[in-house]
């Protein structure tokens, strides 16, 4: 038995280690100062898909991402780690999409890929932390969902068994597929790149990446396995009214840089005497003890 799995992945700015130059003077984000990375929990999701591929030979793992053409970088990254195929969904019409418009576009692309058993994505992306796109896609496709997954244990007889981690503890659930699963960061880390796969796929590209270079273009065109899909609203038959800003019920009213009111801090020297005085003071005013 083999499965068809679509892995949803996003290329995100690395917001975790934001340096001083990450914000511009006017309070907007300086995206150029932030490296673009494979969203961490989407890597956890990819690992679950690759694990199922190991368990059920013949399983096909297709990566789907929405973003500019350079998001093909994360498709290549996925191919290096064991994915079979990838699609970049890219169109100016998607600009300004909120989570709902994003899930509409992605669900249109999922339908176009078709014939899927599992759709697996990270729980959330680090640039928004909303965790909304997975469940919204599930609803748009009329599928059940399992969120906060930590381990997809098995997929047999039309049912998937998943362990999920929630505040109340751990749940093991069984759900029929097709199914949408979103994976928690506490799941297994993604396996590293495979040297052979890197050799095989390092020249994989979307058409727009090689369009300007005849030699590269010819090289990719002669090798179907190097062709990463590049789809737009037309390819997936998306209704423009539901894409981008016009398809987004939420609007950003304003954005502010976060400024905290600075306090007058008192300095305590890092000496035995000063630290003992501080402790004595905190005990005396009942802050501690």
């Amino acid at each position: 038995m083999s499965l068809n799995i679509i892995v949803l992945a996003k290329q995100v700015p690395d917001t975790r280690n934001v340096g001083k130059d990450a914000m511009k003077e006017d309070g907007t984000v300086n995206r150029a100062a932030l490296p673009a990375i494979f969203n961490p929990e989407d890597l956890n999701a990819l690992e679950q898909a690759l694990k199922l591929k190991d368990m059920y030979p013949g399983t096909k793992v297709t990566l789907l991402t929405m973003g500019p053409a350079r998001a093909a970088e994360i498709i290549r990254e996925g191919l290096y780690r064991g994915a079979d195929d990838g699609v970049v969904l890219s169109d100016r019409a998607f600009a300004g999409s909120d989570t709902l418009a994003t899930s509409y576009a992605l669900s249109a692309a999922v339908k176009k890929i078709g014939n899927y058993d599992l759709i697996i994505g990270g729980r959330q992306a680090i640039d928004g932390d909303t965790a909304q796109v997975g469940p919204q896609i599930a609803e748009k496709l009329g599928l059940p969902q399992v969120t906060y997954a930590e381990d997809i244990i098995k997929a047999e007889n039309g049912k998937v068994t998943v362990k999920r981690r929630i505040e109340a503890g751990i749940e093991t659930v069984e759900a029929p597929y097709p199914l949408v699963v979103t994976v928690n960061g506490s799941a297994d880390e993604c396996r590293p790149r495979n040297a052979k796969a890197v050799m095989k796929y390092k020249r994989a590209a979307v058409p727009s990446e090689v369009a300007a270079d005849e030699a590269k273009k010819a090289f990719v065109e002669a090798r179907p396995y190097l062709q990463i899909g590049e789809w737009n609203t037309e390819t997936v038959g998306a209704d423009l009214a539901q894409c981008g800003l016009s398809g987004s019920p939420t609007k950003v009213k304003s954005i502010q840089n976060v400024v905290f009111t600075a306090k007058e801090a008192r300095t305590v020297e890092n000496t035995d005497a000063a630290l003992e005085d501080l402790i004595v003071e905190l005990i005396a005013n009942h802050t501690i003890g």
Partner: protein
């Protein structure tokens, strides 16, 4: 049958008690409903809901919708979503809130997707205000301002849903304050027939096993918190912080960077994507002070920052700054506390 265009809160419950986050949302909901001159409603979905309204009414709730069926507890996505989608179509709430928990964050997006209504996750503030659409110039009165940090907490965005209803938002536990409006407040109970709001095919996900583990970590309730960041440098150094926390009778917390580094469990994360805390004493060790972290602890009464970098951003909001290596300072604090506490 129903009142329309009110503010509704989806109430979670576990161990027969309504979750704190839901009561916090009811408190905020009552304030906003007063401001808008509308009613506050609550919906509870589950099993054994007898008398649950008694826990809810004191927060100033006018209507409690109850949907009871053995199959509705524990929570699964589809039946709970169907109930909310169908109920919302009927009562057309103006505003809907749910907790930013593993339930609310599973349920909210599904409901918003079906109703094509916007949803803003993890709001840190909710207000009412006006909005003018920059393109069309159309003016909107009394919208819900859904305010949340974005971009890893580096900016704060105010989001509105001008045209779609309900205006939906989730909020994490501990962000809003819980306050009883009137212990004698009472409203009406509306029992809804689960079979009219769900479809038999909604019950396809089966819970095989459920280990309920009460979290051992009680950051929210602890008056003293010792927290470590990326500057702590290792798991071993976190053991040292644990020792300080134990000595002072406090809890150990961490910034997202330390959690991401794998030095400490996720349930100890303080900040926008973790827990919001307001202890009496907050000792920040090796925490640089990213906004994402500060937004979750800035209301602490006394903040001590121990950092080898005198320019660390956290020092600007600290009350006391100790410049030095935590490996060096923390053992001294332990030593002098032991010496002086008796």
């Amino acid at each position: 049958m129903a009142d329309k265009n009110n503010l509704i809160v989806y109430c979670e419950y576990e161990h027969g008690k309504v979750a704190d986050v839901s009561l916090e949302l009811l408190t905020k909901g009552r304030q906003l409903a007063d401001r808008l001159g509308i009613k506050l409603e609550a919906v509870v979905v589950g099993d054994k809901l007898k008398d649950i309204e008694k826990e809810i009414f004191p927060y100033g709730v006018d209507t409690v919708y109850k949907v009871e069926d053995a199959r509705l507890y524990p929570y699964t996505s589809l039946p709970h979503s169907s109930i909310l989608i169908n109920l919302f179509k009927e009562v057309e709430p103006r505003i809907a809130f749910m907790g930013a928990t593993s339930i609310g964050r599973d349920l909210g997006p599904r409901v918003s997707s079906a109703l094509h209504s916007g949803l803003t996750a993890d709001c840190t503030s909710l207000e009412i205000g006006d909005y003018t659409d920059a393109k069309s110039g159309k003016e909107y009165k009394d919208l819900l301002y859904q305010i949340r940090p974005a971009f890893g907490g580096n900016i704060v965005a105010t989001i509105v849903n001008p045209d779609c209803r309900p205006q939906m938002a989730t909020v994490r536990e501990g962000v809003m304050k819980k306050e009883v409006r009137d212990s004698n407040y009472t409203g009406k109970v509306v029992d809804l027939d689960p079979s009219k709001y769900t479809d038999p095919t909604d019950y396809v996900v089966e819970i095989l096993d459920r280990h309920v583990e009460k979290s051992k970590v009680n950051l929210k309730g602890s008056p003293i918190i010792v927290a470590g960041g990326y500057g702590v440098g290792s798991k071993e150094n976190f053991d040292l912080l644990q020792k300080l926390a134990d000595t002072l009778g406090g809890e150990l917390g961490a910034s997202r960077a330390a959690v991401d580094a794998g030095w400490i469990d996720h349930d100890r994360q303080i900040g926008q994507t973790g827990v919001t805390v307001r202890p009496k004493l907050y000792i920040a060790c090796g925490i640089s002070g990213q906004i994402q972290h500060i937004s979750g602890m800035q209301d602490s009464s006394l903040i001590i920052s121990i950092n080898s970098d005198p320019e660390a951003p956290i020092n600007t909001i600290a009350d006391i700054v100790i410049t030095g290596k935590m490996e060096d300072v923390v053992p001294k604090l332990i030593k002098y506390y032991k010496k002086n506490s008796k």
